[in-house]
Symmetry: C2
Subunit: 213 residues, 2 copies
DNA sequence: ACCTGAACACCGTTCAAGT
DNA sequence: ACCTGAACACCGTTCAAGT
C-alpha cells in the first residue's frame, strides 16, 4: 500500500461518515466517496484494499466519538455506567451507521480503548480471569443488543411511524396469543430509551455485585 | 400483490437461506435466487416488492428454526434459559445470516412467537409493565449482543484464524495499555461460548431475582 | 392474474497507462 | 511511489409485452 499522501485516514473517515449520515448506507460507495473527496474512484484503492474497508472507516469514526470523563476513583459501577452509556450514545448518534457497527470488525485504538476502559472498571469490581471475561461480554452485549433492538427488534419503531401508530399496530394483533407483547408495547409508549438502558444495566450490575465485591 | 401461485413463501425462505448458507451474503441476489428456483429474476417481483425482502425471508427462516420444549410448569428462570438459548443457537447455526438477523426487521409469527414465549416466562417471574419491558429488553439484548460479539466484537476470531493465532494477536498489543484486554483474550482461549452465554444469562437472572420474585 | 425478457443506471474491481 | 480513466462483469429495477 505504500505511503499515500493526498488524503489522511481521518479525512476518509470523516467523509465516509458524512455520506452515511446524510444519504444512508446506500450513499456510501467507492464512486460516491471519491466524488466527495474530489477525485476518481480508483484513487481510493491507494488507501483501502476493498469496498468493505469503507464500512470499517465509518465504524471507527463512530466509535471514536465515544467520550467519557476518565476517573479511576469513583465506584466501579459508576464507571461501567459512564463508559457503557458513552458508547451506546455514540452509536445511537449515527442511526444510519448502526448496521455497520453491528456487523463490521475493527481493531482500531478507538475500539480497543473503550473495551480496555470497560474492563478496567470491571476489574476494580474484583473480577478477573473467566469472571472478568463473562462480565465484559455481558455488558458489551447489553450495549450492542440495545442498539440492535432499537434498529430491528420486535418493538422497533417503523420508519416515519408515530408512537400511537406503533401501539395501534400491536393492539391489532391477536390479543390472546400476544398478551404480553401487547402489554410491553403499551409500557414502551410511556418510556424513554435512556431510562430503559440504565435500568437494564443496573439489573446486570446487581447480578454482578451479588456474589463478590 | 394478488395471489401468486408458482412458489410458496416457505419455498422462497428455504431457497434464500440455502443460498446464504452455501455462498454467503453475496450469494443472495434477485438473479441468483430466481436461478435457484428455476425462473427469471423478474418473476420474484410477484412475491416480494424489493430486494431487501429477500433478506427478511432469510431472517424468518432462521428464527423459525428456534425450538424449545414448551412448558409452563418449570421455574420461570429455567424457561428463560431454554427459550433464550434456543434462539441464540438458531442464530449461531447460520453464521452467514447473522448480519441480516441483526439488522433486518421481521414481524413474522416466528419472531413474535419467541418474544411472547420469553415474555410469558418473565411475567411468571412476577414482572409486569415497565419492569417486564426492561427484563425483556435485557434478555433479548444479551442474546443478540452475544451473537453480535462473536461476529464483530473485539474478541471475535478472524476468518480462518486458529485459537493460538488469536491470542498471539492480543499478546502483540502494547502490554501496558491493553492489560485487561490481553488477560481476557487469554481467558477466552480456555472457554466455551455456551458456558459464557449461560454464565452471562445467570448474572442477569440473579439481578432480576434480587428485588421481586 | 400472473409471468417474463430487454434495457437502464448503477456498482466493485481489473487492467493498462500516466506522472 | 502514487494517481487515474476505460472497460468488464455484475447488480436492482423499470418498462413493455406476453399468457
Amino acid at each position: 500500500m505504500g505511503r499515500p499522501a493526498k488524503f489522511s485516514r481521518e479525512q476518509l473517515q470523516a467523509a465516509a461518515l458524512a455520506l452515511v449520515d446524510e444519504h444512508g448506507l446506500a450513499g456510501l460507495s467507492m464512486r460516491a466517496l471519491a466524488n466527495a473527496l474530489g477525485t476518481g474512484a480508483m484513487t481510493l484503492y491507494n488507501y483501502v484494499t476493498e469496498r468493505e474497508d469503507l464500512d470499517i472507516l465509518v465504524v471507527e469514526a463512530v466509535i471514536a466519538e465515544a467520550r467519557w470523563s476518565p476517573g479511576r476513583n469513583r465506584d466501579w459501577r459508576e464507571d461501567v455506567r459512564l463508559i457503557s452509556t458513552a458508547l451506546w450514545k455514540a452509536v445511537r448518534a449515527h442511526p444510519h451507521a448502526i448496521p455497520l457497527i453491528l456487523t463490521r470488525r475493527s481493531r482500531s485504538p478507538a475500539v480497543f480503548g473503550v473495551s480496555e476502559a470497560l474492563l478496567d472498571a470491571l476489574s476494580r469490581g474484583g473480577k478477573s480471569g473467566q469472571e472478568l471475561l463473562v462480565a465484559f461480554r455481558s455488558v458489551s452485549a447489553l450495549v450492542m443488543g440495545f442498539a440492535q433492538a432499537e434498529l430491528a427488534g420486535p418493538l422497533a419503531v417503523k420508519a416515519g411511524e408515530t408512537a400511537n401508530a406503533t401501539i395501534a399496530r400491536f393492539r391489532a394483533l391477536p390479543a390472546e396469543r400476544y398478551r404480553c407483547l401487547i402489554e410491553i408495547a403499551t409500557a414502551a409508549e410511556s418510556s424513554a430509551p435512556e431510562a430503559e438502558f440504565r435500568a437494564a444495566l443496573d439489573l446486570l450490575l446487581k447480578g454482578m455485585s451479588a456474589g463478590g465485591d
